[in-house]
């Protein structure tokens, strides 16, 4: 029997696994009718998931943790049994007379940011406060020896509005997900300086969010959904899928932007400014492959530990909550029948892989690089 699942998403390239699961029939194969609803704001996604309008949702990785901690207006236990994407956020400065820092050079970027902040914090537009955008930028500034509150001042607007916010001069720069950074450089109103991948090469970006209670009541349905999305991720990884995928995403009911702008982050060839300079970053956005979906507890702990002070919550409590939010156990159970390769543990030392590492050659199972910008490691234990 077909199960109808309502699922909200924000028009972003990293909603692709959900969209592909629906459009290419991977959901149907699992007897799921995925009813995808495009949303205008993360607040709306959060509320509709919390109160049962949605069964599942495209969410920023910190959102389930923040929500489970009762932060951000709505108190609801949300779990993330699967990661939908890694990386994908790009930092774009408003085009000005100063020479922008070299692309993906974090040291030059920080110097530039600090210099800009001499007369008060630099105003940065982000899509939501409980986001990797905010967590990564604060991490970068803190690890470089500065106080984030003195360097940056965040303003919030939905990703597809940030181009307009930057143009209006309300902010000096935006940290925004694909493809909206490409839209800004295409319009010539900003200069792309840094991808999130340069701060952390394997940052969980979006997750599949469901209510914990719903997940427990609908265990097998959730497994089917995870399998459908997993197969969508494998399809996305195939080299000849890219063109088709970009065309699908470009439709107005999904992302609603020209497909060549969507293609940029996928291909890792990103236009940096109005002059047409191109930056190369193969890790700009990772949506496909066998290693993206696994919800590492170590990444959840990283988010909790880094953001707990700013959220005003006790670190230990935040970490405990985060460990209950990311659910590798569900991911494993769901994919057991799909014969998918799995890591041995649920935690890893983040930042230890400089290069892609093959775990199981027979199954084509590998882990992508997960280095931090400063070469530090994060040991969750």
């Amino acid at each position: 029997m077909t199960t109808l699942l309502n699922c909200g998403f924000i028009p972003l390239t990293d909603a692709a696994p959900l969209i592909v699961a629906h459009e290419l029939g991977f959901a149907e194969e699992e007897n799921i009718a995925l009813n995808l609803k495009r949303e205008n704001s993360w607040s709306s996604i959060r509320d509709k998931l919390a109160f049962g309008v949605y069964d599942a949702a495209h969410m920023l990785a910190p959102m389930p943790i923040a929500m489970s901690l009762g932060k951000g207006q709505v108190n609801s236990k949300i779990i993330a049994p699967m990661v939908l994407s890694m990386n994908g956020d790009s930092f774009v400065f408003k085009t000005n007379d100063e020479i922008a820092p070299r692309f993906n050079d974090t040291a030059a970027f920080i110097q530039y940011l600090v210099r800009q902040a001499t007369n008060g914090p630099v105003r940065i537009g982000v899509p939501f406060m409980h986001s990797m955008h905010v967590a990564l930028l604060r991490f970068l500034i803190r690890q470089s020896g500065f106080n984030p509150a003195e360097i940056v001042d965040f303003s919030v607007a939905p990703p597809f509005v940030l181009a307009e916010v930057l143009k209006s001069g309300e902010v000096d720069g935006v940290f925004v997900g694909a493809p909206w950074a490409a839209q800004i450089t295409d319009l010539g109103t900003g200069t792309l300086a840094l991808n999130g991948s340069a701060i952390w090469a394997a940052a969980p970006e979006k997750v599949l969010g469901v209510r914990q209670e719903w997940g427990e009541r609908n265990e097998l349905i959730l497994h089917r959904l995870i399998r459908a999305i997993y197969r969508a991720q494998l399809w996305i990884e195939r080299p000849n899928s890219q063109d088709t995928l970009c065309e699908i995403l470009a439709r107005s009911k999904y992302v609603g932007i020209q497909s060549d702008l969507i293609q940029q982050a996928f291909s890792g060839q990103m236009v940096l400014d109005a002059k047409g300079r191109v930056g190369h970053d193969p890790l700009a956005l990772r949506i496909g492959g066998t290693d993206v979906g696994f919800p590492w507890l170590s990444t959840a702990i990283w988010i909790a530990k880094n953001e707990a002070p700013a959220w005003g919550v006790d670190e230990k409590w935040a970490i405990e909550t985060a460990k209950n939010c990311f659910r590798p156990d569900i991911y494993r159970n769901a994919l057991m029948s799909a014969n998918s390769p799995m890591p041995d543990g649920n935690c890893k030392v983040e930042g230890s892989l400089n290069e892609r590492q093959t775990i199981n050659a027979a199954q084509d199972y590998y882990l992508g690089p997960d280095r931090f910008f400063d070469g530090s490691v994060f040991d969750p234990n």
Partner: protein, 221 residues
């Protein structure tokens, strides 16, 4: 007693008659101050109207979200109502969180144990933010009224859309009939019969066939 009147002809700016005292305590006797954030003046009118019928509230409308933080700080609302689908809601949430997080925290909705009420609000498309410390029984009528008014606004809009579509379709059908009458020398009734038969044969709506005919004629002539 209404302390403010809402100039609905011009909701794009903010107004209030309240004298601003910074450390206002929420008292039971003072009327609740409700701020409605809505760029749609017709809906704002409906909500304000409904709230006035319900109880003696002080109501302010914000139609333009520019400078929202300052406006809200000056107003010191007890309850804020905003369209759930409004794209500026993420910005708005950051603003209210920054208003005074420790002193007067603002929470979404009233009573998270009342799931039915909240589901009703979400279905209606209302989000309500409430300054902590307000008694639930004082908030409930506000939310109920807002829910009812959002629903009736939705219905009004749907009716208007339907009427508009029907009118546009009738116009197209009339033009298609005219084209057929002229080109094939048919009577009006015969022309309509041709359209209807074609629609039935192709499993389409009469208006779609008419639309196709009008478009084709526009291209050919």
């Amino acid at each position: 007693m209404l302390q403010s009147t809402v100039p609905l002809q011009c909701p794009s700016y903010l107004f209030t008659h309240k004298s601003s005292t910074n450390k206002r305590k929420i008292s039971v006797t003072e009327p609740l101050h409700i701020v409605v954030i809505d760029p749609d003046k017709e809906r704002a009118f409906l909500i304000v109207d409904g709230l006035r019928e319900t109880m003696d509230y002080k109501i302010s409308v914000i139609g333009e979200t520019l400078g929202l933080a300052r406006k809200l700080r000056d107003l010191e609302p007890d309850i804020i109502l905003i369209d759930l689908e409004d794209p500026s809601r993420d910005s708005f949430e950051q603003v209210i969180t920054a208003l005074g997080p420790s002193e007067r925290p603002v929470a979404m909705f009233v009573d998270q144990t009342d799931d039915k009420m909240m589901r009703a609000a979400i279905d209606a498309g209302v989000s309500a933010y409430v300054v902590n410390g307000l008694r639930k029984d004082r908030i409930k009528p506000v939310l109920e009224t807002a829910i009812a008014r959002f629903h009736s606004f939705g219905r009004m809009k749907a009716e208007l859309e339907a009427t508009k579509t029907a009118l546009a379709e009738r116009k197209t059908i009339d033009r298609a009939k005219g084209l057929l009458m002229k080109a094939r020398g048919l009577s009006e009734e015969e022309a309509y019969a041709v359209l209807r038969k074609t629609a039935m044969d192709q499993g389409r709506r009469v208006s779609e066939v008419a639309d196709g005919l009008v478009t084709a004629a526009g291209l050919l002539l």
